[in-house]
Amino acid sequence: MNEYNFILQYFNQFPLIIKVVWITSVILMTNVFILIIYLRYLRNKLRVKSSLESKCQMYFESSLITYLYSGNEEEDFSIEQKKIIKELKGVTSEAFKRKVLIATLLKLRNEITGEIADSIDKLYIELGLLQYPLSKLRHKKWDVIANAIRELTLFQVKGIQSVVMKNINHPKKEVRKEMQLYLVQLFTFKGLEFLNLLQTPLSEWDQIQLLEILQKSDDQDITDIKPWLKSTNESVVSFALKLARLYNQYEVKDEIIALLNHKNELIRVNAIESLNHLNVLEAKVVLKSNFIETSLDEQIAFVKMLENTYESSDKFFLLDYRNHENQEIKLIIMEIMKNLNFEEYYLYDTELFEDITNKKTTA
């Protein structure tokens, strides 16, 4: 007790700043020890959770495989299947086990196709799991909504598109993206109608995701993309240009040529690339006449187009720009000239020829 009083008295004689420093140090050290205990708890918890998760997953996998192979054609569900459904229903009320069950169902669903995949979708409904994502579609947290839409997408739950579509211009891009994936995954090209109403930008990342889903779909009957090429949403135009390339939409060439005057440079460049891909030779006349007024990226895109579509009539254009200040353009033009008529080109400029060959050991 005396020692305690002595320390207290000794402490009290310090100036305020030193008292604050001592107290802060003690608080920090206490925090260190509390966090160490928490860290130990956390590591144990994560280890236990991981072990429990793999045990549950193994159990569910085994039950689900039995379920999938114990069906028969006479009845909706065989006795064995009914037994498994009853067992699994028992665990759906526990959030953790439900999460693992859904993950296991999804894992299996991604590994199989056809009737067995449909059987998993049917089981998902039968287990009453659908009520959970449906109840979350109007949740105030964005990540809950996005998760719910994703679950509906993965289990191919149709019939709720009007509810899902309400998130078309949701402030969080993750929710918008899930909504778009839902529509395109389930309704392919018809699902793309959301583009007519989209006010927010569709990122390049999202565009790639959507295009890949479309490409993997059985339905390859592309809808009319002309309205999207005229959209006021520039990202929609960019997406439509990609569709035009991917699905060789030669019939929209006039709309694409019109985009050469678009106010956004990137769209103009994309339009040239699409015209190149579609081999629209008539665009070359327009592009040649405007060449000097266009940006460097447009010029590069155009000479790349010429690389694929060159004709002898392009020779004078090529000669005009063979000394272009941009090295990349110059190199492409020389390559084209070489391909057109190498000997004649060689006479024009022997010095430039050295530029396209390797500059070896010229120290």
Binding site: L39, L42, W205, L246
Partner: protein, 476 residues
Amino acid sequence: MNANTWQIILTIIQYFFLIFSISAITSYILLGIISAIETRSYMKKNSFVNYKEILSSPFSPSISIIAPAYNESLNIVENVRSLLSSHYVNYDVIIVNDGSKDDSLEKLIKAYDLIQIDIPINEQIKTKPLRGGVYKSTNPAFDKLIVVDKENGGKADALNMGLNISKNKYVASIDVDCLLLEDALQKLIKPFLEITDQKVIAAGGVIRIANSCTIKDGKLLEINFPNKWLEQGQILEYLRAFLLGRMAWSRLNGLLVISGAFGLFDKKIAIEVGGYDTNTVGEDMEIIVRMRRHMQEINQKYKVAYIPDPLCWTEAPDNYKTFISQRNRWTRGTIETLKKHKKIGFNKKYFSLGLLSYPYWFIFERMAPIVEVAGLIYFGILIFFDYVRWDYSLSFILLAYSFSVLFSIVAIISEELTYNQYKKKKIGIKLIIISFLEPIVNHPFILYAAIKGNIEYYFYKKIEWGTMTRKGMGNT
């Protein structure tokens, strides 16, 4: 000078150290809080990301991985194999043999069936000339590989050669000895494709330390924890820097450095600013600062992105000599970059770059070791003249030490809650022990290297990379 004047001077010095320490601690606390917010947000958003689709799309942007190599004969073949095993679809690998004196090139030629080819080089950045030329493989399996043999010009010059050779939209610079994870490219390209309201000019991710890990055929099989305190201390340091520091700066859009070990750049911007600076040993930081400065000057909205995912594993120094040499180089790089771009500092024209990032780096990265050493000298003088109040001094020492340990523990918890890479039993306790030891076993050497870097910068202005004796990560 009378006693009163001395007293005033001493008081001013003491208050300077006090204010500096409080500012440093406050900045770390703020960065920790911002980082926690950003990490939570990232993890939540990232749970919705599907990286598979980007792998097969014809619209996936093209990337060139540029790996400069100098006398890397020991592991070059395995390292290149690791770079070629990325899951990304649209990329090539440009190995720039920067005038190696060993048999690196011969080994590559033999292992990958290389033949010399003639290709046009768009020399947009001046570099040292080619030596052996450009090589490509006759084996279609190695179609993505380009090997360039040039005269020695240093790492920055080799990277510039890579920029000239690359025909792709994006370039990833990587240390050839780094183990690149198979999904690293699709993760790092995402910010470039996802952000629509700003132009992403560069992106970086987390670099992890591979010492003691099990690696076979260019693949990371098992994550282990090294036994040496020096290596353990560096693991902790990397966790703090990448999970707490850079994550926070990413949220503030104030990152001044993307690790030279692995980073992705918009090639057009990198060339516009003139490529890597060959006159600095901190070319990785310098190019980012220059690109940022350029974007500010042309008044275009931009972002230097950062993702907390571990993308690349590298070998860290396992002895103090190499460790000091590496940190010495980092210090010189920082000094050179900040000096070269001093116009930015405290300049409101550069907004957060000039008023936040630059001042922070100048005060807490550039000046911190000098202030710390000055403090130690001052403390030594006080001891010599018997002016030390030990009860006061101990309180400050304990405060600094407790804060350092606390910050490390927070970094470990952050790692557990996010990527949880050190799962093995006993690693947890080792991480805690090193949190207590690191301020003693690593920090004095970091301080020494920083001071050495300052002295060498001001008195021996020779550009030198220093050597890193590698044990190699192939089949560790």
